[in-house]
Symmetry: C2
Amino acid sequence: MGATKTDHFTDKQNELAIIIKALAHPARIAIVEYLLTVNTCICGDIVNELPLAQPTISQHLKELKNAGLIQGNIEGNAVCYCINPKIFKKLEKLMDELFKSIKKQKNTCC
Amino acid sequence: MGATKTDHFTDKQNELAIIIKALAHPARIAIVEYLLTVNTCICGDIVNELPLAQPTISQHLKELKNAGLIQGNIEGNAVCYCINPKIFKKLEKLMDELFKSIKKQKNTCC
DNA sequence: ATTTAATATCGCAATATTACGATAAAAGAT
DNA sequence: ATCTTTTATCGTAATATTGCGATATTAAAT
């Protein structure tokens, strides 16, 4: 085993899980937060900012990109990464649905 | 390797990552959603609801519990699981901070 | 053309996750 | 006391993730 049984869950559940999973690592959260502090989307000085080796950062960037959370555009020599607000909006919507139904729930718990 | 280098990131980043990670699996999202549909917090019929074996569910419940997202109270024979709104509120707050700074950002991207 | 700089990819080791059968533990039912 | 039900834990196999050194790739700089 080791592989998630995605086929048994709804598309929505899988979609949310994929987006969330991409954010489920402190380095990737740090990358996203860093991209938010630099208004112009600076590229690979993320490597200088974070305490991880260049290949590791590159891998995390790839995962964020695969989930659609960031974009990478080639600019000559370097690559310019930036937030993709679209997917974050989708995430916000999905999470809001969750948060709303939690607030609706009568807390008659155990 | 294989172990996350948590010590290099901020407490906030690690905390958010832990909560998010607990939700980063369709089965665990499904469990949370199921707990929200049954107002009275029913216990182990989660096993009947989801297409996974009982030990697998038990393991997922443990992870949700470890992250504080759900609670489990023993009721005689059975165990009664339910949402813990506290941690969801914390999650909502942390995510809201993220979403807000995304909206603030001028989208002068690449 | 060669060198330099910035990223990506490969390959690997260490560890974590996912899933489940078998079994244990605890409480209720007979 | 024994059986049944419910849940947790153990052990294990399959796979995924994390991290990084070494190397490839690409484009700019000399």
